[in-house]
């Protein structure tokens, strides 16, 4: 379900990532990114204590003490290092990770995002979401344009609890790429067969654009 769109978003984000960057991938769409890197090499950080995360091992080589933050078996790239959780979050919070690619529940038109709790439901999990929002040098949001029930996920104002005051830099959906600059959301690129007017209709947030729709 939606897998085509999810892969499309992952592939577009790959274009934003630079060779050799230190990157933390959140749950959901971001976990698809390693499959579409091509020749590009990133240094992936896993917040449970690994820098230099490699792909899934064959079943015979699985070690359940070598897992990703999503608790899936992984391998280590050459040059990888292992460390404890406090060191891992010093790395994240201290601004040593170049890019965090995060899924969200909502992002508002200033770039503030919500990715940990739904109002009215039990709020019992935050994990490393707020640390990544507070500390990564650059935040790229990977999200479908609308939620399962059709509500826009790019909104004027958050109605879900905020993950922090730090704003995202870029958001990529199946329809468009937007960037956030000084509290303003700007259309960078349209990714689907859709006009700017149609895009405005399905986007809760207000955004700036030029006459071709792809100025910025």
């Amino acid at each position: 379900m939606n897998q085509f769109e999810r892969i499309k978003i992952a592939k577009r984000i790959v274009q934003e990532l630079k060779q050799g960057q230190f990157v933390n991938l959140g749950v959901g769409i971001p976990t698809l990114i390693p499959d579409y890197l091509g020749e590009k090499k990133l240094v992936l950080q896993s917040e449970n204590g690994l820098l230099g995360m490699g792909p899934t091992p064959p079943a015979a080589e699985v070690n359940m003490d070598l897992i990703s933050a999503s608790k899936a078996p992984i391998t280590m790239e050459i040059g990888a290092s292992l460390f404890d959780s406090s060191n891992s979050f010093a790395m994240i919070r201290g601004g040593h990770i170049d890019v965090a690619v995060l899924g969200v529940l909502q992002v508002d038109q200033t770039g503030e995002l919500a990715n940990w709790a739904v109002p009215g439901q039990t709020i019992l999990g935050v994990g490393g979401a707020m640390d990544l929002v507070a500390g990564a040098k650059e935040i790229i949001v990977a999200t479908l344009h609308s939620s399962k029930n059709g509500d826009p996920k790019l909104v004027k104002e958050l109605t879900f609890p905020s993950s922090g005051i730090r704003k995202a830099d870029l958001v990529v959906t199946e329809h468009a790429v937007f960037k956030f600059e000084e509290g303003t959301m700007k259309l960078v690129e349209i990714l689907s067969d859709i006009s700017v007017e149609e895009l405005k209709e399905i986007t809760g947030a207000e955004f700036e654009y030029n006459s071709e729709g792809t100025d910025f």
Binding site: N48, M64, S86, I123, L124, V126, G127, M130, P161, G164
Partner: protein, 228 residues
């Protein structure tokens, strides 16, 4: 004089109402044998500080099923529906802390530091009631250090002194938990003679470790199973 205990012996170091610092991320690096020992004991009203509470009936989830817990402090409880239900029913108090803040709070607890200012969670629900301070133009909140009565950790190999090394990402919260408990009990897969572990590879020096218990678990086909 040795630190090695049988599984049946370590429980006497824990009292009703104690706060336990427990290592692990999911099931990895979780002291499953020590958890089984507590589950089989008469201990009650325990507070757990751990990233999560395992899964239903697995890892720390066992202690919840056995009604051993009154409170859990950690970052992610959603993966254990029993924990969610116990919270809804008012049977379990939960204190939610961002994962990096949890790790740093325990690190501070073990390092003689009373608290720290962090930018994580500033302006969110998790900052409510916490002191805020602007330092060099940036907003921070005060988080208090966390200490415990007993730390229950899981390492891969120990020597008889109690020096510890860990298995890959099984390290996770264990080294910080090892520093912040009044009594520290380490469950390990293997015990070697002193001098076998290289000084340069030891992650947790033995000064932190009071007792060692041999693990009853082995890894098999992607899960942890009892070997005895």
């Amino acid at each position: 004089m040795g630190k090695l205990l049988k599984q049946s012996e370590f429980v006497k170091f824990i009292k009703d109402g104690d706060k336990l610092l427990v290592g692990g991320f999911g099931m990895s690096g979780t002291p499953l044998t020590l958890i089984d020992g507590i589950a089989a004991s008469s201990l009650k009203n325990l507070t757990i500080v751990s990233n999560n509470l395992g899964e239903p009936g697995k890892g720390l989830g066992i202690l919840l099923q056995e009604n051993k817990l009154i409170k859990a402090i950690g970052s992610y409880f959603t993966t254990n529906r029993d924990a969610v239900q116990a919270w809804v029913d008012g049977e379990l108090e939960i204190e939610l802390i961002p994962q990096g803040t949890l790790a740093e709070a325990v690190r501070c607890g073990g390092a003689g530091i009373g608290g720290f200012y962090t930018k994580t969670a500033v302006g969110t629900k998790l900052a409510e009631g916490k002191e805020e301070k602007v330092i060099d133009g940036e907003r921070f909140i005060l988080e208090k250090a966390i200490k415990g009565d007993v730390s229950l950790i899981k390492a891969h190999i120990a020597d008889h002194l109690g020096n510890l090394v860990y298995d890959h990402t099984g390290r996770n919260f264990n080294p910080v938990m090892a520093t912040a408990g009044t009594i520290v009990i380490a469950e390990v897969d293997e015990i070697v003679e002193n001098g076998v572990l290289l000084p340069s590879e030891i992650v947790t020096p033995h000064v932190y470790v009071d007792y060692i218990v041999k693990s009853n678990y082995v890894k098999k086909a992607g899960v942890f199973v009892e070997s005895v």
